[in-house]
Symmetry: C2
Amino acid sequence: MKDVVAGIDIGGTNIIFGLVDNSGNVIAENRLKTVDYPDIKDYTYAQDEALNIMLRENPGHRLIGLGVGAPNANYHKGTIELAPNLAWKGIVPLAEFLKERVHVPVIVTNDANAAAMGEMIFGGAKEMKDFIVLTLGTGLGSGIVINGQVVYGHTGFAGELGHTVIVPGGRECGCGRRGCYETYASASGLVRTVLNLFSDMRADSVLRDLPPSELTSKKIVEEAEKGDAIALEAINYTAEMLALGIINAVTFSSPEAVFLFGGLVKAGELLLDPVRKYVDQNVMPIFRGTVKILPSGVSETNAAVLGAAALAWNELKK
Amino acid sequence: MKDVVAGIDIGGTNIIFGLVDNSGNVIAENRLKTVDYPDIKDYTYAQDEALNIMLRENPGHRLIGLGVGAPNANYHKGTIELAPNLAWKGIVPLAEFLKERVHVPVIVTNDANAAAMGEMIFGGAKEMKDFIVLTLGTGLGSGIVINGQVVYGHTGFAGELGHTVIVPGGRECGCGRRGCYETYASASGLVRTVLNLFSDMRADSVLRDLPPSELTSKKIVEEAEKGDAIALEAINYTAEMLALGIINAVTFSSPEAVFLFGGLVKAGELLLDPVRKYVDQNVMPIFRGTVKILPSGVSETNAAVLGAAALAWNELKK
């Protein structure tokens, strides 16, 4: 019998889960629809059943732990708390409920912390003690590792870099405040910057022919690659703002590397090159040249499951 | 024989040192003039001799370690690097040189990290694993503790919160950049705010009768206590900016408490009350009410020596 853990990534639409060995091989992967389980207890039954089926279909494996990445998850308490995109309202004791069904250790954290753990155990940070992962999707998530440990803080909710204020009085944020990092440095931040440049710049652009509500970061990156002036300037500005948040994080914890992950990183060197330039140019002199800006070393296909599984493997090794 | 360590605080003008037992009692304290030792080797001889004299005058004590707080000190390497206010230029292997003379373990870090260690071992953070100390003097120094460990980072220079950018394009900073936290939230930041309010506000103020070069934070606090409108507004704005940096730090590492230390804290509740109000009002909702804003629990008289000594005690306990 070979020991495996299950990595489970709970999102607003899908719950993706898989069996992962301690070398990071994904033995099997499947998914449940989040909306099918408005009652958390129903979900834990379904999850247990789905894992049992998966184990029967892949004989020779013994399940020894669950790692779960979920929005608004609290590592200390094993709970999901006040998650706006889930039907499970209030404070949900997810780890406890899952453990009652599956009878193995259950570790819970948010998806960006799971991504950081994935980077450390299976990705580009294997030899590192101090690094940060930024997930650049609709918002900006972050997982921070210091002295080889994910930073959870006193509350269990630490590492919300997407909501550090980098422009006082700046863009409105979904959190109800203004000027948060993620309103500039994310896929939706890139879209907002293009909308702003429509008024600031005079250049022609095919992007002006789309209704603003249909503008996506994917489309903007495509046009930038063809040389569209507004798209290029938007990526340049996004890189400068992304760099500003990285600079402040470096001033705080002086990591060896910052890994970038998620949709926006598809822009590749078009984004990464200017980010490196702005970090080098604007960081405090004492930190110049001390931090690598790298794309994530975890393949996007299995990243969510691998991150959650890494969380469990890390805990089991203690 | 009772074990003691020496705590040594190296500043641009004075080197203050003392013998400290493991309960935080300062058995003796003395000082050397920094400028008397332009050669680092001469200093280490003088420091060894001064400690021997101190031990002879206080019989019954055995020296088992040195902790040193110094500007631009690197914990990992035991060096002082490129310190602008010291005659010792370049990269100085301070720990190595001191150890050659004194023959006990020597630990080196910057003064704000030493202050954090003092808070943890002898001050208000004895039971805490996650907290931050901000030293509000001419500049703003910070010591960050996460999971019970001071954050040194990959480079050994982490925890420079005074140089996180909180207003892009804002006030000029001594580090050569703009908008750093310490240009707003420090004794000199308070003075700069009053100078700005001289033009923004119409109110009378005795502070207008002083040449700007003679304006001090002490004088401003005195006038605020008497009800001076400009001084009061300056303290209010300083509190708001101090809160902004605290809010971003909370979003990063979610500490249990932030301790404030140094000259500016003499303003007492006049400063602390609005800081607490602005933190509570402007922090991300998930962190509301989770962080205490407290004056340092280490008495200012011996704080530098106690902090440096705490550094040594902490290392010896490992």
